[in-house]
Amino acid sequence: MDRNHSRRQLAAMRQSLFDQGHLDEQFIQLEELQDDANPNFVEEIVTLYYRDSSRLTSSLEQTLERNPLDYNKLDTIMHQFKGSSSSIGAKKVKAECTMFREYCRAGNAEGCRKSFQQMMKEYSALRKKLETYFQLARQAGPKETAFRPK
């Protein structure tokens, strides 16, 4: 009874992540790469993403403290962050990265800083939700995370 409840909760949570626009189709692509031999592939990739993101966002923060701003450098770092966000299906984060790069190209310092703040908000929100999601997934049992047919 408990397990079924967990599974329903998990499915609902997963659906809301898509409905609310946090995740896109790419996340599903990753889910389809899981199988019995690699049941935690998505979580592993997402963990690598957190690691990458910490490094890149720190770098962005430091670079944003300079005056005047080095737009080329900012754009380069953001390009990387956008890339990995895109690879895991982080839809809202990716959209904020795009905005940021627009401001960079326009040489708009204020826009860059505001956009960065917004992006960090989205990133934190996504991370929190995903951490809860994977925790729930582990509780619900292995079957729930293995989507790929044998």
Partner: protein
């Protein structure tokens, strides 16, 4: 026809190498500076039953292939790569520069198909890569369907090349005669005692 059978049987090991029924494993070298993307492409390729080597830069890719000019290159035989997939935007050597370096090689290396991957859909970039000899330009994030399609294409090309090579071999041994076995009017192909007559068949057997 016994002699025909034997010729085919002796040719078989070579044909098997290139035959689609045996399905040799494709070895893919993937190049990407992004940790996340490296893991994803590795998984996509492994699921597609490819042997995968992943490196994080163009420099390391050249090192792996033995093209970096350093001593210690063991020659192509020891590192057989059937496909290279490289990210475009990388610090240091870009995917485009890596592509150029490989295509400038005057050896077996320039024959290796190179696919460029990029998250940016820039037409001039795509054109440049294709002009430089890239097999294809894939938009990131790369999907399983992209990899499957690529693999099929490379495998089919391998088979075609293999067939071409076997045909060339057979043709050169036939000394210009068509692929079908021609019989000399002086001897019957099934007659083993006809070895004194230099029919195309016995020539083949002698060479093998």
């Amino acid at each position: 026809m016994a002699i025909v059978d034997e010729v085919f049987r002796q040719n078989l090991p070579e044909m098997m190498e290139e035959s689609p029924c045996v399905a040799p494993q494709l070895h893919v070298l993937a190049v990407d500076d992004s940790l996340v993307d490296r893991k994803v492409i590795e998984r996509l390729l492994k699921i597609s039953s490819c042997k995968v080597t992943v490196v994080d830069s163009g420099t390391r890719a050249l090192q792996y292939l033995g093209l970096d000019g350093e001593n210690g290159s063991l020659g192509f035989d020891s590192v057989k790569v059937n496909l290279i997939m490289t990210d475009y935007s990388m610090p240091g050597m870009t995917g485009y520069e890596l592509l150029k370096k490989i295509k400038q090689e005057s050896s077996v290396f320039r024959e290796i198909p190179v696919v460029v991957m990029s998250s940016e859909n820039v037409l001039t970039r795509i054109d440049r890569c294709l002009e430089e000899g890239a097999e294809e330009f894939l938009l990131k994030p790369v999907k399983l369907s992209d990899v499957t399609r690529l693999k099929d294409f490379i495998m089919r090309r391998k088979v075609k090349e293999g067939e071409k090579r076997s045909h060339k071999r057979r043709r050169s041994l036939d000394c210009g005669s068509p692929l079908s076995i021609t019989c000399s009017p002086l001897s019957h192909p099934c007659d083993p005692s006809s070895s004194s007559v230099l029919s195309p068949l016995s020539t083949k057997k002698a060479r093998l």
